[in-house]
Symmetry: C2
Subunit: 351 residues, 2 copies
């Protein structure tokens, strides 16, 4: 797998510009890449700090000098809480936020807090969804518990709109988040939402929001040729993100007409939200041409490309991917290439 | 994720004993774990050497001093071939085998061979399957090309029976492999098959085979609580393998009745051949009890466990896994635990 330098830069600048234009701040989800070299580029483009999903991701970012971290998830792990509490005490410039959605969690956090409190965003969820309180009333109970618990401080409201199906649903959900925020007595409140699938709606709806709005978009940095290409808000508004990741693999064999077995598999490329998409073939003579067909199956170390084509054993084929979050975690080192596909940088990931 | 020391040892000894009993040799598939510490245990138990799927896996094993490697896959990558050729020249004790299923591949291999030839097993496949010649006649063409090509040497026949559905199909397939072998003029021929799903049938059918039989079983080392539990030959014959891998994760939240969100996800546990299976809960007081319910969905960093239970945020829950090959590759370091769940060793993986 390689990443295209120009596409990475374009995407980082595009999303930073979008957030600036709408008066929002970007806390890019670091879980997507866990690549400090890329986080540095995002910070330089103006990111507020970073989002993570787990205490261990937070600690990896701390080791790489990140000062502002939002753990957009419930945290109940005593070892993780104690380590973060120690880090808050050690470094006064470390800012940490996390989500909370139950009184039980607030009690656990309070038990493991240190001298500086854990700042929490009360999470609003959706019925049938993942984490988060199911109603504004439920959220207000959690918020009250956070305000009452020693070692815990309420900082605002968090949520995730990426699984919603329509702009109307997103608007209603954002309305509930703002209603919750209006009931809280918090100075300089924070409101955090996802921001990959609906940042256009979010930008418009929250333009007049008094809270500091933190977007947690992660996958935008590489975009893709799959679900994000299909679902990016740039299908509705002007602008674009560019797919930055490519898998290159050899044709191993063409055992039957219409069947091409290629040398990448589940160890190399994502397969959870759509399979890789064939793009081009490069032959031994250096000539490139488009490739037809479809990846229909992946094994641990092979993929099956079907369709009529003239591929031969030894041909090198490139594929776009779907779902960057399960692409980076398969690689400890990622080559970055320029427009001629010359490797110009090696990026380490820390999963 | 942790591995159970006693279960690992039991499985390594069990499979080594089975191969010995049937006069076969074991070339365990190293792709499963890519963990040199575990390979050392397998070697000590009598393994012939190891199977890999890619040139880079072969080179990682070479760096860890492995002398016999079978690449059970087509290889057409010039850089991989040249590096392996150089390694063959550098170290006379290095034995290398790989699969071949096309004349085009033989030509590529011949072009990149060094002073010591590449030894190949002509691969017999199945219609609609993955790699491998579709007929014995096709295999004999590839075998003849291998015997004629400078820098390539024919060593026998390889195949993979793990995707077949019935013992009759396996018997017929093994019969075709033996027929192919009978047509080849090879001294001390090798016949290699998979050996995870059908090693009972293979043991019986190949008991009188004159070739050296190399089994490539990989997943047996940890077994699982999913597909391998369902499909192991030990459901048909006396003996057992024991599931050695467990995922431990905290309950993050219980947002609705019957919904438990647990802190592991696609980054932590396999999800391609069945989802993890809940086993036990351990509470803050150290008490353990069985857990009911079913994992029905996994996100990048979360899992949804459904069913009635009394789990609470902060509870630690253990899960069995399905498909070891997509479990190890998610962890750079794997703790090994004793029967009290005390960590006794840390094992590094090299993916």
């Amino acid at each position: 797998m390689v990443a295209d330098r120009a596409a990475l830069r374009h995407n980082i600048d595009t999303m930073a510009g979008f957030a600036r234009e709408y008066g929002m701040e970007l806390a890019p989800h670091a879980k997507t890449t866990m690549a400090p070299a890329l986080l540095a580029d995002q910070l330089e483009a103006g990111a507020w700090g970073f989002t993570v999903a787990t205490p261990s991701q937070a600690l990896i970012l701390r080791e790489h000098g990140i000062e502002r971290i939002m753990l957009a998830n419930e945290i109940v792990d005593p070892a993780g809480l104690r380590t973060i509490a120690a880090e808050l005490e050690r470094d006064p410039s470390f800012e940490f936020l996390c989500f909370a959605d139950s009184v039980a969690q607030i009690e656990i956090m309070s038990r493991h807090a240190g001298a500086r409190p854990f700042r929490v965003l009360a999470e609003l969820g959706q019925p049938g969804g993942r984490g988060g309180c199911r109603t504004v009333a439920g959220l207000l109970d959690v918020a009250a518990a956070a305000q009452a618990a020693p070692g815990v401080e309420l900082a605002g409201v968090g949520g995730y709109e990426g699984t919603l199906d329509t702009a109307d649903q997103v608007r209603a959900y954002l309305g509930d988040m703002r209603e919750a925020l209006d009931h809280l007595r918090v100075r300089d409140p924070i409101l955090s939402v996802g921001g990959s699938m609906w940042f256009d709606v979010i930008g418009r709806e929250l333009a007049d929001c008094q809270a500091r709005v933190l977007l947690r978009s992660g996958a935008y940095i590489t975009h893709d040729d799959g679900i994000y290409r299909e679902r990016t808000p740039y299908n509705r508004i002007a602008g674009e993100l560019r797919p930055a990741l490519e898998i290159w693999a050899h044709v191993l064999t063409t055992p039957e007409p219409g069947m091409t077995i290629v040398g990448f598999g589940k160890r190399d490329a994502p397969y959870d939200e759509g399979l890789p998409v064939p793009k081009a073939v490069r032959r031994a003579d250096g000539e490139s041409s488009p490739v037809k067909g479809e990846v229909v199956k992946m094994w641990d170390q092979h993929a099956l490309l079907t369709g009529e084509n003239d591929l031969r054993p030894g041909d090198l084929v490139s594929f776009g991917i779907s779902h960057p979050c399960t692409a980076f975690d398969k690689w400890r080192v990622l080559p970055v290439v320029d427009e001629r596909h010359v490797v110009v940088e090696l990026i380490a990931t820390y999963f």
